[in-house]
């Protein structure tokens, strides 16, 4: 293609720095949000994998037991009776470091002499003699050198850890220097100690978490595996290494998918922006493009010109977006990690894990979106006939004629979207959601025309002829205003939809907490996973608290993770307080029928569990117990918003019978009539502190626990709120860009108005009224679309992603907020162009006449 054409193109872009800058900013923001979410969720996943790798090492198989692990005798039997050489016992537990807030470690108790083939990081060469120190000094630990330095710990220093509410000082006897950045990250959150120390800290003497094995793939090895399997006692199993970790990591898949979908919405809104910019640049150059065509420039060349211009904008925007995304990822990583810690598992991630794949994906998304957005304007440009003196009004007339067709196409797309909601799986849910949104966007120009026609009289009454001018300026330029209003409508409807969903969810959680939390005081050790107490309370402490004066009755709960053929299952065993039935709300089953069955050994499962495993009342849940796999009949399905993975609940007696575990994870205490709660809590706290090991337990009133639970709930949606805000920012940039384009086009018209006698203030008023009206129309249209979106989120996405159902709660306040947001965003975006136009001299504006 001719260099002259490229020059002309470049100068065209250079003459509109504001317009082009906004477009670049829009695409940059979209790419940044998508990349940041990808990096943050990817880094969290990567950190989990690395941590798993660090502690799994080169093991090929693992022998695992129930919630309390397995007896050391199994290890002895393996080494002595079966002659398995490459076997290493492990005690693993998550611990917090209270002196370093936010730090979570996996404490790994190992046998240093059996370790070498498994975890080469530790113990292969031992220049400092740390192995000897580990074995000979109780409470000795080894950690990675970089982590020790980051925490300001030198060998000999003390690191206090907290396990099940009790603080324990440990001594750093040596550090391991990772060979490469990968190992640095892998070892970042690992503490190594000897088996005995770990067992003591876990309160589980004589028990192991697992035994790691390295077994090859020769026939002899297969025979050995078979021998091991046969020799294992009931409740102990041989599993492929990493199987457990995979199942754990997969719990966050739905959460990640939801964030990714929301981040893509930012990019979609950015796409409107590029579309608007490119359409504007084509419309502005119609005469020029027509001349070029007359001079012999082919359609293909015009198409290439417009597409390459868009690509150039997209490339700059994408590059900026990648830079911005890296910075944003650091902030989001913190929120994502916190949510994972609140909902799923203990995880500590410090650094964004930047992969070429993620950057390439962002670049592909940015450029792909740009090209997609530029296709229609580029095609329109090729349709410009040589010498065609097509005036703007003819184009707008064509746009108006196209509006009903676009609306029809939008309706069809919306219908396709609804159909896409039918198949199972959250991905289809999001496909449907996006199709519905795009359908609504296509219907916007017609809806705007209809709405403004309906508002014509009231507007005229309120604003006179100037008001009418403002309204008609919108309908007169549908090719401009339609897209801007659609972009703003999408962003605001997303805000309304997500807002209504969160509010409905919060309302459901609130009702659920009110129904479930019936005791007066709750006691639990500080948990690493916010929403799930699964540490163990000291039995003596349980005794001291349950028998405190003023306590009428005590109920217990034991939360553990047990294995099943279909992955780990969170089991809660409840010891009911005498005379107090637990306050569960059942989705299936009547309480008076359910509880007697639970007493006889049946279980109840939470709604997400039933949804995920496709089970109902009368089916059975198969869990691995100490006697091997057992089937438990399901007596009821209860509402539970505490865990998206699902929970199986059983009576304490059933649990103890099958797992022989007498541990208690939390206590629910009922106050005797007339007892002052505050005084009771003070008494309980005093009793907790009075023991031989001061217990760091949380003793909270019903209200405090409810508030803490809601705080966790709100925290888990923090990242969603950030994304929602960013989508609105992108839409705001879109509206600003469209309004600037409109103002530029209307220079002459406004100049004429000034020549006719309108004051600058009146011109400003007309433009401000126009932008305000655009915001109002976008807001009004966003309300039904937002409510529809909320419906899809609540009834389809949430259910398929997490298994939760809840009634939808449309608060008028949220709708009003959305409307105000739309008007405010439009007015704010219109402020600069309005001021500029009002200042424009009529002489300048009419100079070309």
């Amino acid at each position: 293609m001719s260099a002259g054409l490229w020059r002309a193109s470049l100068r065209h872009l250079a003459r509109r720095p504001g317009q082009i800058g906004l477009s670049v900013l829009g695409i940059a923001l979209g790419v940044a949000v998508a990349l940041a979410v990808g990096l943050a969720t990817g880094s969290a996943r990567r950190a989990f994998e690395l941590a798993t790798e660090a502690v799994t090492g080169r093991a090929t198989h693992q022998i695992v037991g129930g919630p309390t692990g397995l007896s050391e005798d199994v290890y002895r039997m393996l080494r002595l009776d079966l002659g398995v050489q490459r076997a290493a016992p492990v005690v693993a537990l998550d611990v917090a470091a209270p002196d370093h807030p936010g730090r979570v470690f996996q404490l790994l108790g190992v046998d240093p002499f059996a370790e070498a083939p498994f975890r080469p990081h530790f113990g292969s060469d031992d220049p400092l003699g740390t192995v000897a120190a580990l074995v000979t000094r109780p409470g000795a630990i080894v950690m990675s050198g970089p982590t020790a330095r980051a925490l300001g710990l030198a060998p000999g220093a003390t690191l206090t850890i907290r396990v099940a509410g009790a603080r324990h000082p440990l001594t750093l006897v040596g550090t391991v220097e990772p060979a490469d950045p990968l190992s640095t990250q892998a070892l970042e959150s690992v503490l190594v100690t000897d088996i005995a120390t770990a067992q003591e800290l876990a309160g589980n003497k004589g028990r192991l978490s697992r035994i790691d094995l390295i077994i090859g793939f020769r026939p002899a090895d297969r025979a050995l595996l078979e021998r091991i399997r046969r020799a294992l006692p009931p409740g102990v199993e041989l599993a492929r290494a990493g199987a457990q970790a995979e199942a754990t990591a997969s719990m966050t898949a739905a959460f990640t998918l939801n964030l990714r979908a929301l981040s893509l919405l930012a990019l979609v809104v950015g796409m409107f922006l590029i579309y608007n910019t490119m359409t504007f640049s084509v419309v502005q150059r119609r005469a020029l493009l027509g001349t070029l065509r007359a001079l012999g420039v082919t359609r293909g060349e015009v198409f290439t010109l417009v597409t390459v211009e868009a690509l150039a904008l997209g490339a700059v925007g994408t590059l900026l977006g990648i830079g911005l995304g890296l910075a944003l990822a650091q902030g989001l990583l913190h929120l994502v990690t916190r949510t994972i810690n609140d909902l799923y598992f203990a995880l500590s991630v410090r650094e964004v894990w930047l992969t070429p794949g993620a950057v390439l994906e962002a670049a592909g998304l940015g450029l792909g979106t740009t090209v997609l957005a530029a296709l229609a304007p580029a095609r329109e440009a090729t349709g410009i006939r040589p010498r065609e003196a097509l005036v703007r009004s003819r184009l707008e007339a064509a746009s108006r004629r196209a509006a009903p067709r676009a609306a029809l196409a939008g309706l069809a797309l919306g219908a396709v979207g609804v159909l896409a909601l039918v198949p199972r799986g959250p991905v289809w849910g999001f496909v449907g959601l996006f199709a519905i949104l795009m359908g609504a966007a296509l219907m916007t120009p017609l809806a705007v025309a209809v709405l403004l026609r309906a508002l014509d009289r009231p507007i005229a009454r309120a604003g006179g002829l100037l008001g009418r001018m403002a309204a008609r300026a919108i309908t007169a330029a549908p090719s401009r205003t339609g897209v801007a209003i659609a972009a703003l409508m999408i962003a605001v409807s997303a805000t309304i939809g997500v807002g209504v969903m969160i509010a409905s969810f919060r309302e459901a959680v609130l009702r659920w907490l009110e129904g479930t939390l019936r005791a007066d005081v709750y006691v639990a050790p500080p948990s690493l996973v916010g929403s799930r107490p699964d540490a163990t309370l000291d039995p003596a402490l349980v005794q001291r608290l349950a028998t405190a004066p003023g306590v009428a009755a005590a109920g217990t709960a034991r939360g553990v993770t047990v294995a099943s053929a279909r992955g780990p299952v969170h089991v809660v065993a409840i010891g009911m307080a005498a005379g107090h039935a637990p306050g569960f709300a059942f989705k299936r089953g009547r309480p008076e029928a359910v509880w007697p069955q639970v007493d006889k050994g049946a279980v109840i499962v939470s709604e997400p569990f039933a949804y995920r495993r496709h089970v109902g009342v009368g089916d059975r849940v198969r869990l691995r117990t100490r006697e091997g796999e057992q089937a438990f009949p399901i007596a009821g399905i209860f509402y539970d918003y505490g865990s998206s993975a699902g929970v199986v609940m059983m009576s304490r007696a059933t649990y103890e019978r099958h797992w022989a575990d007498r541990g208690v994870s939390s206590l629910a205490l009922y106050a005797a009539p007339g007892v002052d709660l505050e005084r009771l809590i003070a008494e309980l706290r005093a009793r907790a502190a009075a023991g031989p090991v001061p217990a760091d337990v949380l003793i909270r009133s019903n209200r405090a626990l409810r508030e803490a639970s809601l705080a966790i709930f709100d925290r888990t949606f923090a990242v969603t709120r950030v994304l929602r805000f960013l989508i609105v920012v992108v839409a705001f940039v879109g509206v600003l860009s469209a309004l600037m384009a409109l103002a530029l086009e209307r220079v002459r018209e406004l100049g004429l108005q000034r020549a006719l006698g309108l004051t600058p203030g009146q011109v400003w008023g007309v433009i401000t009224a126009q932008t305000g009206l655009m915001g109002l129309v976008a807001g009004l249209l966003a309300i039904p679309v937002g409510v529809l979106l909320a419906g899809v989120l609540v009834f389809v996405i949430n259910r398929r992603s997490f298994g939760w159902t809840m009634p939808i709660d449309v608060h008028p306040a949220i709708l009003l907020q959305g409307l105000l947001l739309a008007v405010a965003a439009a007015l704010l975006a219109g402020a600069v162009p309005a001021a500029r136009m009002a200042r424009a001299s009529p002489v300048e504006a009419l100079r070309d006449e």
Binding site: S2, G4, A8, R293, L295, G296, V297, R299, R387
Partner: protein, 233 residues
């Protein structure tokens, strides 16, 4: 010997207007010879611009054939017609239609670049033409810094810079005052005659008619020669 530059045979152009069809040109035939200046006159809407569009290959006739320099444009697809136009036709518009984003010199170079001929020779030719239209000193100026007459002089140079067979001009003086129009017209007349180009101009201006070798009237879809070289002018 006279060689045909443009041959129109049985040319018809119908436009659909709602349910009915309106014939702008009906069975028009004519031959324009190499090196002559032909002028089309007629009322507004009579079909002058339509005929120019057909000769340039911008539009296609409903029936009939158009041969330009021996090439039947009606047999070419849109792309081929565009490439043909690029090489063999120069255009002058009423509103100058210079590319506002390119300097005067770059505007002249654009047709050459499109043809891959913006080499040293092409540049020299562009400069020479600029000199001929008296705007050598404005080569680096952008069109919006030029007066209407100057812009049209640049347009004349641009129409000739790539050495086309045929120059089409649609109301070339329609947007200029009488004095400036005279200057531009005389420049165009001088240049095309020197270079031996065929020119077809649509106009209302008697000045332009005065410069013609042949004058055609378009009326009721018919093309009638009013007078020409044979009239002993």
């Amino acid at each position: 010997m006279l060689l045909p530059a443009v041959e129109l045979r049985g040319l018809t152009k119908l436009y659909r207007e709602g349910e009915s069809e309106r014939a702008v040109l009906r069975d028009v035939s004519a031959t324009l010879w190499l090196g002559e200046i032909a002028v089309l006159v007629g009322r507004s809407g009579s079909g002058k611009s339509t005929l120019l569009n057909l000769i340039s290959g911008i539009d296609r006739p409903t029936a009939g054939t158009i041969l330009v320099n021996g090439t039947d444009l009606t047999n070419l697809d849109e792309r081929a017609r565009t490439l043909f136009r690029r090489e063999h036709i120069g255009f002058i518009f009423q509103f100058f239609n210079l590319v506002p984003l390119l300097t005067v010199e770059e505007n002249l170079l654009l047709p050459l670049e499109l043809l891959g001929r913006a080499d040293a020779e092409g540049r020299a030719r562009a400069r020479e033409l600029l000199d001929r239209v008296g705007l050598a000193d404005r080569a680096r100026a952008y069109p919006d810094r030029l007066s209407g007459g100057e812009q049209q002089r640049v347009a004349v140079a641009r129409a000739l810079v790539h050495d086309p067979v045929l120059v089409l001009a649609d109301e070339p003086t329609g947007n200029l005052d009488a004095e400036t129009a005279k200057v531009v017209l005389s420049l165009l007349d001088q240049l095309v005659r020197e270079m031996g180009k065929t020119v077809v101009m649509a106009t209302h201006s008697s000045e332009v008619v005065g410069a013609a070798d042949r004058v055609f009237l378009i009326q009721h879809g018919q093309l009638t020669e009013q007078w020409g070289a044979g009239d002993g002018r």
